[in-house]
């Protein structure tokens, strides 16, 4: 008897997590989901875990997915799946994930605390499962990309990983940081506004 996972109504990425757990314990799993992102992500999980997949068509918006582990395939040798990003409509987000750093502080209230929090946030960004593809720094945020900011190594690591870092040129000029920007590309409002308007997701700490 296959294990049956009822993932209807569950928010992304819950259906994938439940399926993954079930596959660790059982060779045969049936999953019920009610959105196409969950269906696609479970297909990707199954293929990476070496399972055969059978989808019994959509009935009243519910997909029944039957997964059966193929013998002799070790999940360790398979490439990790690339999941579709989650969003509230169950549809994949269209544009890149953009982190907007509009200040050198995180949150409002105490600036000294805010500066500490922002440093910790930037340090964490590289390890995020759903991290940034672009980071935009403006207003006092540009100070983080300048010499002596305390997060330059983090920003350089992010750039090495392929994250595009845009730094507002007007702001660099205002804070007299010209020539001191040590990470990212000094950019302009056309690029900044354009990137934000095309973003699939904007994260602003």
């Amino acid at each position: 008897m296959p294990e049956i996972i009822n993932a209807k109504g569950l928010a992304c990425p819950q259906p994938v997590i439940l399926t993954k757990k079930a596959l660790e314990a059982s060779d045969e799993v049936t999953v019920l989901v009610d959105n196409s992102t969950a269906l696609e992500n479970i297909k990707r999980l199954a293929s990476s875990a070496g399972c055969s997949i059978e989808v019994a068509g959509e009935t009243e918006g519910v997909f029944k997915i039957h997964l059966l582990k193929k013998p002799g395939i070790s999940p360790e040798t398979a490439a990790p799946p690339e999941y579709l990003p989650c969003d509230s409509n169950g549809k994949p987000a269209a544009g890149p994930t953009v982190f907007v750093i509009a200040s050198d502080t995180m949150g409002r209230g105490d600036d000294e605390l805010g500066r500490i929090l922002m440093k910790a946030f930037i340090h964490t960004a590289i390890d995020l499962e759903s991290g940034p593809e672009v980071m935009i720094f403006y207003n006092t945020g540009v100070k983080l990309a300048a010499e002596g900011s305390g997060v330059l190594d983090d920003l350089k690591n992010l750039e090495e990983k392929g994250v595009k870092v845009l730094v507002c040129g007007t702001c660099v000029n205002f804070f007299e940081l010209t020539g001191k920007v040590a990470a990212g590309i000094v950019s302009n409002m056309y690029d900044i506004a354009g990137t934000m308007s095309r973003a699939g997701r904007i994260v602003q700490p």
Partner: protein, 75 residues
């Protein structure tokens, strides 16, 4: 040797202590970095100060009596 240096972290009781420590270390020019407390370490304060082992004594000395380090651990 791996490419990544081994760091130590200093843990504090509160963020106020971290802020004070950062101000002192900046003033003294001692290299350090504010990082979130690693998940596997429990701490009331969510941020800590990371540094290379060679600065350990200097940091302890400069912060002594001014802010309270509760623990220094390997990262």
């Amino acid at each position: 040797m791996t490419g990544k240096p081994d760091y130590l972290i200093a843990l504090f009781n509160s963020v106020s202590h971290v802020i004070r420590a950062e101000r002192i270390l900046n003033g003294q020019g001692i290299p350090h970095k504010i990082v979130p407390v690693p998940k596997h370490i429990s701490s009331d304060c969510g941020v800590c100060i990371r540094f290379l082992p060679e600065y350990r004594d200097q940091i302890i000395q400069k912060l002594e009596g001014k802010t309270e380090i509760i623990e220094i651990r390997e990262l």
